[in-house]
Symmetry: C2
Subunit: 218 residues, 2 copies
């Protein structure tokens, strides 16, 4: 599959690298083509890796991943272009983290909104699926390294798009039984607000190498 990755941070580079490894063609997009980090990534990731502008990456991808920092997501996706996202699965892995007051950051947009919802509203013809935003980048593509099964959450309004993301997550190493569908895109609120706990857990545990497992009673 051809996949466009919007964003050159550690999340974009990690997901992009894994996707190339899995045999996909990946174009990483940045504000301007020839971004240093994107060029370095593309050179290191193999012949199926390339880079360009946000619009280049979105146009290239049959599926597009928003791996920008949350507060920059709408700007980046506007630069990518609604036409380049129309009809496509848009996997939103972003989080709104505000470090202005120092760490830990303030997490989330508001208690009654989310990036997932805002992106779906801004790009009604994209098929937005929120996923993977609840953990560190390295765990997104290697959940088995925790040595115990944990959960990943997906939500979105388009069932076929969610099913496609579920398949992609399985290729990352997620067991289908560990992928929890939280419902429509409004459930992004839950997935994004949880990160408010995640940043505190990171402080308490002293590591970002953790995830949660939902334990259900009878």
């Amino acid at each position: 599959m051809r996949i466009g990755v919007i964003g050159t941070g550690v999340v974009g580079r990690t997901l992009g690298g894994k996707l190339v490894e899995l045999g996909h063609e990946v174009k990483m997009g940045s504000r301007e083509a020839r971004n240093d980090k994107a060029v370095e990534w593309a050179q290191g990731a193999g012949e199926n890796a390339s880079e360009g502008s946000f619009a280049d990456a979105a146009e290239f991808g049959e599926l597009v991943i928003n791996a920008t920092a949350g507060h920059a997501a709408l700007d980046a996706l506007n630069a990518a272009g609604a036409g380049n996202l129309s009809g496509k699965v848009l996997v939103d892995v972003s989080n709104a983290l505000d470090f202005a007051g120092g760490p830990p950051p303030i997490v989330g947009l508001a208690v009654d909104e989310s990036l997932g919802e805002r992106i779906q509203a801004a790009f009604p013809d994209a098929r937005v699926v929120k996923a993977l935003n609840t953990m560190n980048a390295s765990l997104m593509v290697a959940p088995g390294t925790l040595g115990e099964s944990t959960n990943v959450f997906v939500c979105g309004n388009d069932e076929a798009a969610k099913a496609q993301v579920l398949e992609l997550l399985e290729t990352f190493g997620w067991l289908s039984g560990d992928i929890i569908d939280l419902g429509d895109i409004s459930a992004s609120r839950g997935a994004e607000l949880y990160v408010g706990l995640w940043v505190r857990l990171m402080g308490a545990l002293g590591t970002p190498q953790f995830n949660i497992r939902v334990v259900r009673g009878d």
Copy 2:
């Protein structure tokens, strides 16, 4: 120990009942003494159970539990009286849930605030410890029913107060290794915002009988 429970909902009644069972003297407080639910609870819970006004319960307790609905917490604690809370451990188990738009509720006060912080600021002489707000009432006092170890979170500014709450949690059945100290009272944001995910999980799983376990890598 003498314990005051502020609030007559299912959380207050469940915690109050367990505390009586453990040998504590418990007074449940409501807006006005002789509240039907409080009287019924006190009659069923045994001779160490009593009821009264918010102020009666707060005055009675050496330790006080805020088990009100979050949006009513400040009003209830003001009625309880700052003088009756001064110097005492105040365990805040409340959540701000707004059902005005129907279920699932909007969870939390704001991304940069929390009930725990607001209560500590309003009652600077109380020793506020946020705890137990991340799960269903029945699990708070019977974590073993899930058949697998899960986590409970505490936070607060007063280390001795947290240590006392930790001991109390152990008597509820929590293993000390499963109680995670998230830090000072500002970490209430994390514990409270997580409930935004909890309400979505409850919808997805079809039951409130679940909790999370934090799985840490090496």
